[in-house]
């Protein structure tokens, strides 16, 4: 097994492999026979029409639901361990409580993700959340709120990022800045699988989900 640099990754994911994965939602088969290999430093943009199953695929990889068929591997790591400490899932529901302040939410989720003590501060710096820390989450704009959700990815580093429409509420300047953040993650050996409608701000190969016949 790969030796991990201490303090870098909490998890054990060294690759993501999908083999013949089929997923259905509410009794309807969304897609089948999906193959994907993601190695450290690689990013894949997941495209497809609304309802093609992008979100369902991300949730299936994260282990929240089971695939109908096929295998999901994490480079030989135990799937349970890999999912518990090795990946971040950012859905369109961000899990932030409107009545709590930005600082409370960021501190909690950083600790929950097992972040180092300065992890949250680094995320605040990288995503320029400093001026928002004392605001309640309900006072944030959609883009600010998304930055707060993205801050969790930086506070507790984990190798695999599963992102669902990560950039949609961000303006052009922040899309570019988050592109740089993603590039830094990849340069450190991270992996990103992002469901998108607009192209990612960094070069990425893409995987189109097409409805099962």
């Amino acid at each position: 097994m790969l030796k991990l640099r201490p303090g870098r990754w909490a998890g054990v994911i060294t690759a993501l492999q999908l083999r013949g994965v089929a997923v259905s939602r509410g009794g309807r088969r969304l897609f089948s026979g999906l193959d994907l290999d993601l190695a450290p430093g690689e990013v894949c943009a997941l495209t497809g029409a609304n309802g093609a199953g992008k979100t369902s695929l991300l949730r299936t990889i994260a282990g929240l639901s089971a695939p109908d068929m096929g295998d999901i591997g994490f480079g030989g790591a135990d799937p349970g361990d890999a999912r518990q400490g090795g990946l971040h899932l950012l859905g369109h529901l961000d899990g932030l409580k409107a009545a709590r302040t930005t600082r409370e939410e960021l501190t909690f989720w950083s600790r929950w993700g097992g972040a180092a003590s300065d992890g949250a501060d680094q995320a605040v710096t990288a995503l320029a959340l400093g001026g928002l820390l004392d605001l309640e989450v309900r006072r944030l704009s959609a883009g600010q709120r998304r930055r707060l959700a993205l801050a969790r990815l930086l506070a507790a580093p984990r190798p695999l990022w599963l992102l669902d429409e990560p950039l949609s509420p961000l303006d052009a300047a922040w899309r570019a800045r988050f592109g740089a953040v993603m590039q830094a993650h990849l340069a450190g050996g991270g992996m990103i699988l992002a469901a998108v409608h607009d192209p990612l701000p960094i070069p990425a190969r893409s995987l189109a989900l097409e409805a099962a016949a």
Partner: protein, 221 residues
């Protein structure tokens, strides 16, 4: 440990604010305890006879109030996904949520219970036992209630469904606690009822989180 204490702090803060938190539960409790003498009649003797039991049943009902939001809010806003994706077992997460629920509503209700019972005419000597029963019973209410709250995730009007699922589970603690109070009031041995109440609470704490975690996983899938 840092993860667990962070979750306990967050959940307690959320439970404190959820649906008005302890003030609403205690207010509802006071309301039910006030309605009873109006319905039953003001004769002191009759009221005193039913006071401990009435205070106890009202407590079970008040415990239901904020239960339905225990998992639902996290389910709706996606936080439950992230709570599930953690090296902390979901069972432990569920147990901590119920413990927070107990800290935020069960414990304040346990303080209000002796006051309500004495107000209805129960002998003051009964107050410590009522407090102890309410404290232990509240734990059983929170952990069995969590099962109902998790099972009704994703259902429309889940709050009503939670109440319907949970009320049968409240029967044993109501019987045991009521029995202990009744026995104490008539000068008989009350320890058996109280011990059974403690046993039920312990079973609920031990087994409830398994059922809650399974129900949450099912709702998320």
């Amino acid at each position: 440990m840092s993860r667990i204490s962070a979750l306990l702090a967050r959940e307690t803060a959320l439970a404190w604010g959820r649906g008005g938190g302890p003030l609403v539960s205690v207010g509802f409790y006071a309301g039910v305890a006030t309605l009873l003498p109006l319905a039953i009649g003001p004769e002191a003797q009759r009221l005193a006879a039913i006071a401990p039991g009435a205070a106890w049943v009202a407590l079970a009902l008040a415990s239901l109030l904020s239960l339905d939001r225990l998992f639902e809010r996290d389910f709706e806003d996606g936080a439950l996904d992230l709570l599930t994706l953690s090296s902390t077992p979901l069972e432990l997460t569920c147990a901590i949520k119920c413990l927070s629920q107990w800290l935020a509503t069960g414990a304040p209700l346990a303080l209000a219970a002796p006051i309500a019972a004495i107000g209805l005419g129960a002998p003051p000597a009964l107050a410590p036992l009522i407090f102890a029963c309410a404290l232990v019973g509240g734990l059983a209410f929170a952990f069995t209630g969590g099962i109902g709250a998790a099972l009704s995730l994703g259902a429309r009007r889940g709050g009503l469904l939670t109440a319907v699922i949970v009320l049968p589970l409240f029967v044993p603690p109501v019987i045991f606690g009521g029995g202990a109070l009744d026995a104490f009031a008539s000068g008989l041995g009350w320890t058996a009822g109280f011990a059974l109440l403690c046993a039920y609470a312990a079973a609920a704490v031990a087994l409830g989180p398994l059922a809650m975690a399974a129900a949450c996983r099912n709702a998320l899938a």
